[in-house]
Structures are given as C-alpha cells and as structure tokens.
C-alpha cells in the first residue's frame, strides 16, 4: 500500500497531473465556447445554459449524487477497458456485455423470490442480503465475462477481429434481451396483458444494493455500486501492475512475439483480458439493475438500458490514461458532463440533439488536447530521463494472434 501511495504522490507526477487537469479544463472550455455559439444561435442564453450545466451536475446534493450515479457504470466499463486495451484487445462490446451481465444478475436476484431458509439460519447480520446481492453480482460478472469470452475465443482461436465480433455481439445481446424480457423473464403481472411491457418483476428489497444514505439527508439514488466500482479500480490496478497475471496481459498487449518467446500463452492471455473486461462490463449492468433500476426493461434499444455506458466507458478509460485509478476521475467528469448537459435541455429548452452535439465536441476537443499534454510531459521529462509509469498505450492492433 505504501508503494501505491508513493506512486501517486511523487512531485513530478503531481505536476504532470496538474498540467493534465488544466489542459483538460482548457479543452472542455474551448468545446463549451463552440457550444455557446450554437446555443446562442438557437436563441437561448449561453450563460444561463452553462449555469444550468454546472448546477445540474454539481449544484445540489441530488445533482452531485446523480453525477456519481451516472459515473458508476462508466467506471465499471472503463476499468474493464483498461484491462482489455492493455492486453491489446479493442473491446467495443461493452454494451452487449452490460446487457448480458444485467440479465444474469436480475435472473439470479429474481430467483430468490423468498429468502431461502438456509440463509436465514446463519447468525451474521444481514447475511441473506449480502449473500443474494453477492450471488447476483457474481452472476453479472460471469455472464459479462462469458459474453466477452465469445469475442475472445473468436479472436484467439479463430482469428476473428474483435472490433467486428463485439459490434455484432452487441446487436445479438440486444435481441437476446428483448427476447428474454418478453419471454421467460417477463414480469408475471404482465403476462396476460395484450399490451404488455417487456420488463421483469421488481427484485425484492433484500436483493437490492443499498443506497448510500450517509451521502445526504434527503434520499438520493446514489448506491453502493459506486463503492464497489472504486474498490474494483484498486483491485484491477493491483491486478495489472502487481500480479503475474497482469504482467502477462500487459506483455501480450505490448508484443505478441516477445510474449511467445517468454513462454506466455498469448491466446490464453488475450482471452483473459477480454474475460475480465467483459466481466467488468457485466458488473456495470448488474449494478445498474441491483442498485438503481431494480428491474430490467427494454424499449428495444440497447442504449435505453445502458445509457451508452458501454461506449462512454471506453472514452472514460482512455481519458483516464488506461489506468483504473485514472478512470475514476475521468468517469466522474463524464458523468457530470452527461448529467449537466441534460439540465441545459430542461432549463433553457434547447433540443436534446444540441446536447449530443455538445458531448461530441467535448470528446473531440479533449482527445485533441492530449497531444499538448504529451509534448509537455516529454519536454519536462528531458533531463534526467524519468522513470515512467505504465502510461504508454499499447499498440492496439499488432500482429494477428496465430
């Protein structure tokens, strides 16, 4: 743990961090400036709009809570993306993996429609609750991992490019969700209605992740998923840089050839990377259901459930330097942006599409500003040569795994 603290608090890193953050803010500012012009062109007041953005994201206890709620699935997906990309796997299947994870979690949660007797007899406070929630989360992780694993097996053993397979698997997962929510998982109350809504029954209270009541006096939707996400970030950080498994995954991500030379089973590590990544995305889905929505429902689209977290998590991870710890602030940043942007729509009544445009601009400006950060860090690193953190982004597409 000391080494961990040390890693994050040496001065040169601190300066880099400050630089990073100021540039990030500058880029966001530039994007918002362009956005201001657009808002103004829409006959709305940009100042009021951005006030609304800030207020919407941070202004009240509730908005702060909502920002964190929005950040939670981004964090889970982002952490998974760190593992995948470090292992040289471009996992754009977060959407599908979230869906499958959520389906598994809700299925397990629902199967405990009463607290089983054997759980009640254990004299630990809240044991049935902890057991059922853990089982549901685990199911979410495993199912997400399995769904990612399909792409992993296809890549490692059949040479099918994972960008292709994960894009396709997202659609397949979506249809699977629609099928199950309108079929075996359908809320029994809905079964006999002609115009039934494709949703599951609500999970029991003891299957829910608790809300974080200490966060404020008034109830918010902030739930324990955030805490799990933070813990997961630390765990995955340790996994990647403190364990032999992480070493192997990173080695394979950097060089298939050198890894093969080193006796590392490249295919297995490719699979490991995407299994973990898919598992994290699966957890994101599970947490959304167990902590927030308490049931699954579909409007026929993936985003209706995931809120695009499967994609936004990639952005968060890359802005977080493909580092699980860096992904934490990056997720909060994006959570705030997404929440604040909606508030613009409500407060100054600009179309939702302006908000989407604005999000696009922020992503573009922030990602474009990275080069200046890179240049600055390089110049700073001049004399003497600095030991670098594992910051380098692995080459995404190296040789085919054969």
């Amino acid at each position: 743990m000391m080494a961990f603290v040390h890693r994050f608090f040496d001065t040169s890193k601190l300066i880099n961090l400050v630089l990073n953050i100021s540039l990030l803010l500058l880029a966001v500012g530039a994007a918002l400036l362009v956005g201001a012009v657009m808002i103004w062109l829409m006959d709305a007041d940009p100042v009021k709009a951005y006030q609304a953005l800030y207020e919407g994201a941070f202004g009240t206890t509730n908005s702060r809570a909502e920002t964190l709620v929005k950040a939670t699935p981004l964090l889970f997906v982002g952490i998974g993306i760190c593992v995948a990309f470090r292992g040289g796997v471009v996992n754009v299947g977060g959407e599908g993996q979230m869906i499958i994870g959520a389906l598994a979690a809700v299925w397990v949660a629902l199967s405990f429609d009463t607290v089983p007797r054997f759980l009640e007899n254990i004299p630990i406070h809240d044991f049935p609750h902890i057991f059922i929630v853990t089982a549901s989360l685990l199911a979410g992780f495993l199912a997400g991992a399995a769904w990612g694993g399909i792409a992993g097996v296809l890549k490692a053993y059949f040479g099918v490019n994972e960008i292709l397979s994960t894009i396709m698997l997202n659609q397949i997962a979506l249809q699977l969700m629609n099928y199950l929510l309108n079929g075996v998982l359908l809320d029994p109350d809905q079964k006999d209605r002609v115009n039934r809504i494709p949703k599951t029954a609500r999970i029991q209270d003891y299957a829910k992740l608790p809300r974080l009541e200490w966060f404020s006096d008034t109830p918010t939707r902030l739930h324990a998923g955030l805490i799990i996400g933070l813990a997961l970030a630390v765990v995955v950080y340790i996994l990647l840089w403190r364990t032999t498994l992480g070493y192997r995954i990173r080695a394979v991500g950097q060089s298939n050839r050198a890894s093969r030379y080193a006796g590392i089973n490249v295919k297995r590590q490719v699979l490991n990377a995407i299994l973990i990544s898919g598992g994290c995305a699966g957890l994101a889905g599970a947490v959304q259901v167990l902590g927030l929505q308490y049931r699954m429902q579909t409007d026929g689209s993936a985003a209706g459930f995931t809120g695009n977290a499967g994609f936004n998590g990639i952005v968060a991870a890359l802005f977080g330097g493909l580092h699980p710890i860096g992904t934490i602030p990056a997720s909060v940043f994006f959570g705030a942006l997404l929440i604040g942007a909606q508030s613009i729509q409500r407060e100054v009544q600009v179309p939702a599409s302006l908000i989407t445009t604005l999000n696009g601009l922020v992503v573009i400006f922030v990602v474009s500003s990275q080069i200046f950060i890179k240049r600055l860090t390089k110049r700073r690193a001049s004399v003497p040569p600095q030991p670098t953190t594992p910051k380098s982004v692995p080459a995404l597409q190296e040789e085919p795994t054969q």
Binding site: A251, Q254, Y261, P387
Partner: protein, 516 residues
Amino acid sequence: MPEHLLPTGHRRIDQMRMQGIVKKFPGVLAVDHVDFDVKAGEIHALLGENGAGKSTLMKILYGLYHQEEGQVFLNDLPVVIRSPNQAIQHGIGMIHQHFMLVPSLTVAQNVALGMKSSRGFLLDIDMVSKRIRELSEIYGLQVNPSTPIWQLAVGEQQRVEILRALYRGAALLILDEPTAVLTPQEVDDLFRILKQMTADGHALIFISHKLHEVLAISQRITVLRDGKQVYSIPTETATKETLAHMMVGRPVVLHYDLRPIEPGPARLRLEEVSATSDRGDEGLKKVSLQLHAGEIVGVAGVSGNGQRELAQVIAGMRSTSSGKIWLDNHDVTNHSPAAMNQHGLSHIPEARMTDGVIKNFTVAENFVLQNHGRKPYAWGGVFMNFRNITRQCKTAIKDYEIKTPSHETPIKSLSGGNIQKLVLARELSRQPRVLIAAQPTRGVDIGASEYIHHRLLEERTKGTAILLISEDLDEILALSDRIVVMYEGAIVGEVKRDQADIRTLGLMMAGSKVPV
C-alpha cells in the same frame, strides 16, 4: 552510372560538406559540432560506439532530423534539407540501419514507392521491373522484382535497398550499418558494388562496427564519440587497434584465448528434426546435432538457410514436422517455450527488439520476462515481488555494465548494445544448462561485443552447452569449439575449430559439399 538510368532533373554531387553540425535530443547532445564531408568517387567511413551519433548525423543529412546549428553544403552551395523528399531531390539516398521496406509489397513496388510513374497516376510495375533487371545486370545484384519483401532473406532485402537507391539515381548514398546482417560473401558482393559505384562517380558514406570492413572499403575514416568528432584520417594510415581505441576510449582486446575444455555429457540432442519455415517451405531438413556441456558449437551459414528455424525449434517457438529433440535425456519435442525454460534452456533471440524484449516495459520488467511468475520474483505465482526484482535487476545492471538511467526506464530508450546486454544478463541469470545465442552481437559496437564474448566464454567455462548462431564468421571462428555449416535448411558439414578456415567455410556456406 549509365546516363539513361538517371531520373531527369537529378543533380550531380561533386562534394557534400556538413559544417559545425549540432543536434540535441532531450537530455543528450547527440551531435556536437561535427564537420563531415564526402566527395564524388570516394567512400568516407563513419565509426563510433552505439549511441555515438552516427545515425543522427546522417538522418540530418537525409532530412529526417533538423540540426540546431551548422550548415550543409552541396557542391559548395548551402542547402536546407527539410524532408527525405528534398534529400531525394538533391540526389541523396540513404540505406537505413533498419530497413525501410514494406513487407507485403513486392520488390518492384517497393522500388516504385514514392517515384513518379511514367504512366501518370497509374502504376507501371512492368517498366520498373524491367529497369530493375537492367540495374541488376549492371551491378550483379540478383533479385526477382515480383517477389514480396517478406519472402526475402535479410541479405536480399539489403540488395533491394541498394537497388532502390541506384534506381533513384542517388549521387550520394548513405549506408548505415549495411553489413550488420550480411554474410562474408554478401559483404564481398556489396563491396564490389560499392566500388563500382564509386568508379561511376557516386559519393558514399559507410557506417559499420566492423573495423576490417571499414579498413577494406573506405578512403577516409571519421570516428565519433559521444557526439564529438574525435578522429579523422585517411584509411591507409589507420590500424584496427588505433581505431578501436579511438572509438571506445580504451584499448580493446580483439582476440580471445580459447583454452580447450574437455566437453562433458551431451545436453542437447536433435534427431533428424524438420520444420516448416514462415514462407511455408521446409525450412529445416532432418537436422541432427549434439551439444555437450562446456562447449560452444558455432552455426555458420548464409542468412535464411534455416538458422532462425533451428533456434526457434529448440526454443519451443516453432513446432517440428518430424524428428526429436532431447534435453538432458528428456524428450522435449514440441514443448512450449515455458517448458523449455523450465528444462534449463536460455535463448538470446535473433530479433532482440521484437522478440527479446518488450519495448515499453521497464528494464526491470524485461529482466524477469520468463521468470516473472516464479520465485524469487513472485509470491505463490500470483503477486509480483518487486523488491526482489529490483534488487536482482540492479545487480545485473551493475554486473553487466548496462548503461541505463534506472531500472525503471522503459527499455526502448536504451541503445541496442545495452538492450543486448540486458537480454544476455537475463538469460545467463537463469543459470542455463543450454544456451542458444542467435546473432548475439549483431549491430553491437566493438566494446560491447567484446564484453558479450567474454561472458559467453565464461559461461562455457562454467559448463554450459552453448549453440552460437552467427553470420559473423570472425565471431564463430573466435569462439567456437566446433562449427557446423547450414545450407538450405540442412547441416552440410562440421569442422573442428583448429581445422577451420574462412575459405572452406565460405564454400560450404555457398552449398558445395566439402567432405570433412
């Protein structure tokens, strides 16, 4: 050079002069006020240790880097060269240390790359191929224009690079370590071509770590050390010893004393091993070989005759199509690299930058590439033990005199020689019973080469069985107890060290069966 082959608009270079060139990189003064010149019809050699600044100086001339100070003159006119494109237009060509070829394209396509086509925006590969054949004939460079580069051996790729420079009508040609990957025969061929080029009025700059080559081919020699020009003399007044001394800053031992050792029991046995090459043909044909404790067996051969496959098959990186491999009487045929490591095999791979190390990993991380999951580097095979890794790596850095800012530096910012030393340190630290050393000193300067050779000999004394694969016959002759020669995937002969001479070895490498 025959006039009809010169592209139009091309300029003749009678004289090129670089004056007071300074180039800084973050933290290093790579080139420090260097004057350098070359004339038409002459070869000027550039010498220096790894990282002395040779490549940097030449990249400035070729427009890849820009000098902070100094001026380049062509035919006494100051010129500014901002890009390779401008260099090419001035008639400057460069053959890079790492080949600049596109593997999936054919020879002709690589040559045509970046050239104007006679048919406008349509490619005219037939025309290019025809001209390539003409040039091949004139200079005796055999290549098939329609072969993709990835199918060519390194030596052949080198020929393509030279052909391309000739094709483009380079009046001034920079050759950055062109011989590092060539066999003696290929070097002879190259030298013949270079001489022909100078006779045709080309100006040539030649970089090499091999002193005898420099002495043999150049008219003038300049030595760089730490970016500074420390020595510039006509070749006829230079000797190996002075040159080595000037480069390294201390005297260098150029000959080794190989005391005979009684070889121990056989450690590695190959029985009629065959394997398929990357190209899909039979790369290894029924190779049988025995390696005893305490001996160095040299594998000589022209590159691309199965040496790569041999090393990879033993290391478990390539599967055999038939035959058996025994390590200490265990059948290890087609075992994984991990298993081979377990059995006590160490392997210095030929392609150190792509196979031997992970460029973005730190020195320390690279130091435990194979053993990261084992004691003392890991707890229970799960958690890395960085305290031990750091300690052992620091010891290795000290013992092997590896020049690196720290054990946490990404290995890619070390020079090739130092990377090679780290690989060596790692492989020897595992106390191997058998060591495969493939091209251990390729592209490494003489100071470092000397060091690596000493280490190999020490290892031999300790009783390790060593297979030394090298295209450098001098190295083979200096270090091997026995020498086997490979040709077209098969072992075509074996000689004892004291019976070996360069001429017969050269003949065997060319495929003639010399009975031993």
